[in-house]
Symmetry: C2
Subunit: 582 residues, 2 copies
């Protein structure tokens, strides 16, 4: 491709609203343009990157036995009414009426549609299992679209859905998808972790996220640092090994007046002890139904004063359908004291405490009385509580899998997610089959998503420098950029043109910068655009019968004899593409 004929509108400055690196660079390097908040056009370079990721996804999905389909974007409301999501989904859902007034939506995900297809055409266990996927533009009306294509309103997603006669079979496909995802992100050339994850609103009982590691990531993950251990989890999910129980303190519990001392900082300062000597008690309302206004019993949860309570863990521990912090009035009613003085001793609501709290020799806790705390409180002696894993994991926590390593903390960008769904949709929508036993059974489902446009953005968050993007070879828009440094010079032009032809004939993807621009500006654009290999044809090196080859990652270029350059490039491209396939 000749740069002079390509639409690559590079910019000196990114729009002020662009705050994350990938957004800034995708705009500046001419990969994307904004059409509306969270809605972007993929220009030729951007689309090439996305297509490459799509092809990798497609190849690995097909290899894993999945079949590609294309479902409509426009979905009749009835199906979503059947699953209950028409009612449950909020303003994120694009709803519209067709010309006859029928309710429709633009599918942000396609469980209902695929279930409808399968329940109509699949009747027998002999037709199972099935794993169907599509790659499609989705629309989700995010309240605060930001970060460019990292969290857009319109974005490209690969969504797959599998159907099974039993759970074991579903788990086999789940594992196959897990392995396919490893292969996909490895082939994309990304550093990532597959981590155990919360199933959140999609439901189901087993799930893993695929997180591209980047300091700018929104997700906190921990991974075992032991070389033989692969344990990794979202901090929301990371299991924590229960602490060893300390010998209980002997001192009797004692109430101390602590006027105005409510926060952990204030109380630990008041007593002159570290926060770890305290235990905090938080009051939650569970199972409240906002529609009927019913439900909503209270429960108290405890973690050590220096720890953060993990609400996802608490929700799972309680098996609660909803969970939220109780209001001030509720707290006062439950504890008999204003907020800031809650404690487990004599509390009338059930108490669930993190293992670590129950392992303490003694603790300082709220007294359930205004301006009062209790010290020398011994768990088991002074209060009873259900033990659970409630706190957020932190770096240094012991690994629950191998028992040898410890957690290292990372930040990640979620680019893939696999779910064991069970019968969540198939039961509601009566997606059944006749089993070998001649009886009707509900199908077991899994679902598996990859954010395709987000993967492109995550790749940049992980791979860039001040000058621009540093694409992994497999997903770069071109493999080589060929700079003609003095296109006005007859020799330079001739060699550049020949090299362009030879590289293309060798099947190498080349962006040929034939523009009538200064070398400096060509080098700058090349850095910004981020194509892995750069060949510069210039008068100086040409006099020595050589051209200059530089990897985008490297600082310095090396001289390569003209006669060897095509073979050198072929070898480098092949080597880097192969690396992800091992």
């Amino acid at each position: 491709m000749r740069y002079s004929q390509a639409l690559i509108p590079t910019l000196k400055e990114a729009p002020a609203e662009a705050q994350v690196v990938s957004h800034v660079m995708l705009v500046r390097a001419g990969y994307i343009r904004k059409l509306a908040a969270g809605i972007y056009t993929l220009l030729p370079l951007g689309w090439r990157v996305v297509r490459k990721i799509e092809e990798i996804v497609r190849e690995e999905m097909n290899r894993a036995g999945a079949q590609e389909v294309l479902m409509p974007a426009a979905v009749p409301a009835e199906l979503w009414q059947e699953s209950g999501r028409w009612q449950a989904y909020g303003a994120e859902l694009l709803r519209f009426k067709d010309r006859k007034g029928a309710d429709f939506l633009i599918g942000p995900t396609h469980e209902e549609v695929i279930v409808d297809i399968v329940r109509r055409d699949v009747k027998s266990y002999r037709q199972l299992p099935l794993n169907l996927y599509q790659i499609q533009a989705k629309f989700r009306d995010e309240p605060r679209p930001r970060a460019g294509v990292m969290r857009g309103r319109e974005f490209i997603m690969k969504d797959a859905y599998s159907f099974h006669a039993d759970e074991d079979d579903c788990k086999r496909t789940y594992q196959r998808m897990y392995d396919a995802y490893l292969a996909i992100f490895r082939r994309c050339g990304l550093a990532f972790r597959a981590v155990e994850a919360d199933t959140g609103n999609i439901g189901g009982t087993l799930s893993h996220e695929f997180q591209v590691l980047a300091t700018s990531g929104e997700d906190n993950i921990v991974a075992c640092d032991h070389e033989a251990c692969s344990y990794a989890a979202n901090v929301e999910m990371a299991q924590i090994v229960p602490a060893e129980k300390a010998t209980p303190a002997a001192a009797p519990r004692e109430q101390v007046a602590t006027p105005g001392q409510r926060t952990i900082e204030e109380v630990s300062g008041f007593f002159g002890v570290p926060a770890a000597a305290l235990a905090k008690t938080l009051v939650y309302r569970r199972d409240f139904d906002p529609e009927t206004g019913k439900g909503g019993t209270l429960v108290a949860a405890m973690v050590r004063g220096d720890r953060e309570l993990n609400e996802a863990k608490l929700k799972r521990a309680l098996d609660a359908s909803t969970l939220e912090l109780a209001g001030d009035a509720e707290v006062e009613r439950a504890t008999g004291a204003p907020v800031g003085f809650a404690g487990p001793v004599g509390l009338v609501v059930p108490v669930v405490a993190d293992h670590e709290v129950l392992a303490m020799a003694e603790a300082i806790v709220g007294a359930n009385a205004a301006d009062g705390h209790l010290r020398h409180v011994v768990p088991g002696r002074d209060f009873q509580a259900t033990a659970a894993d409630l706190r957020v994991a932190v770096e240094g926590d012991a690994c629950p899998r191998c028992g040898k390593g410890h957690f290292k903390a990372y930040r990640g960008i979620e680019v893939g997610h696999v779910f064991f769904l069970g019968t969540r949709y198939s039961k509601k929508m009566h997606c059944v089959f006749l089993g070998e036993d001649g009886k009707e059974h509900v199908m077991i489902m899994g679902c598996y998503g990859i954010g395709v446009t987000r993967t492109a953005a995550a790749a940049i968050e992980q791979n860039h420098d001040e000058g621009g993007i540093v694409w992994p070879m497999a997903i770069a828009p071109y493999q080589v950029t060929l700079l003609s440094l003095q296109p006005g010079d007859a020799d330079v032009r001739r060699v550049s043109e020949e090299l362009h032809e030879k590289l293309e004939a060798a099947g190498i993807e080349v962006l040929y910068d034939d523009r009538d621009e200064r070398p400096g500006s060509k080098f700058k654009d090349a850095d910004l655009v981020g194509i892995p290999l750069r060949v510069a044809v210039g008068k100086k090196s040409l006099a020595e019968g050589a051209v200059e080859l530089k990897h985008r990652r490297d600082k310095e270029a090396t001289k390569v004899p003209l006669a060897e350059i095509v073979a050198t490039i072929e070898a480098k491209v092949a080597e880097e593409l192969a690396r992800g396939r091992t």
Copy 2:
């Protein structure tokens, strides 16, 4: 691909609503499933066909110098307000409000979006020309969606838009797109015609349709039957060679009482002459603006009694912005007679007449008086009219291009359309550039569309028999279907499995029917699904060391020695794929 693991839900019966062949067969053969009126899921086989067409489109577009992008489906209303289409488009347009209440639409076509991109990033003649395309699911809320994916509400389209500094350059790209379209439909293995077409609502001054020939087609086209001539046109556009003027009749014109004789049939019956001896006069209202209720002057148009008036031609001849038949009251006011008795003699509104009318020796026409006609009316003597080409072309009309051949009539399915747009969008949306002269100019545009899903349906309308689809090789979902006739037999199974492996290793796309079904049902499904080559492995032929090979087009299978079958298939596939490329 093993049939036993594939989702190919063939049906004995198609739904009653399916009326056209392609709809019936796509549903019966398990290619598509309906989600809502005019909205279909592409199942694995359907999606494979569409992907193959997409890839052919993509290769030829890239070869022709176009660059692929992806624009958002969700488009802010402002851009369409700027072009005026937000107001002009009717209920076909999917409009919605986002969560903040802003007006959006799902783009049925993307002129506004691409113009917005280009006007922001392209400033100089040095950045032109540009030709940008995308392949995308579109939504148009058709009032009567029907015919399956032939005219659906959601469908896949390739839309391209080119930008130029001058008209000549635009015409060069237009020609390049025209040639690319020839290559695309040729490679798809279709019999088609590129025909001159009306520019309709898209506007512009030059356009060609690409029509797949099929008796079920909705469009009427004519093409010259002379072997050396390539003239072809939509009947709306087909130029008609003016007839030679007959010697005017000498008889004086005479009014005849024709009580109640209004239609051509009635009047020709009354006079005992053929319809060709009559000339009919139709009154139209032109340039009426429905918004302001202003404009709308009347005009009369004449064609011979046996001809059909072509409103598209009339509109062009008059250079009218709108055109519609006048109401009864208007006709009476203009002619002084009730509908059915209009004629050109003494008429106060302007008259435009088809060449053929003006060439008549004499004609019978309405008398502009109730229950009266005039005979022996001689054009030029008894009335004056502007001459124009107004009638619908018919088979047998002389070719306007070569002057030797005559029109043959065909029915076609429009699968592609190229337009020279001019400045229709670029002017309204101020899409300008600095020319070599240092001055600002408006860009000249072309636009070029292909209905991808419709091409798949059109291929079936053209290629099928009673048993099912007969795919051209290049767009068949698989190239070969391999039937294991007695999968329970050890030899048959072993040979089938080996053949499956060998064919796949040779890069052949195979659908391997390994199901535990009777041969008869496998043959039936193979015919229905329509894969070009069928290899049957059965006990009988295997005893002779052979398998049976049959082309879907042929009646009889031939025996091919097992040792030669892979090479035979490779050769046949290669030959058929090559045929479209010549």
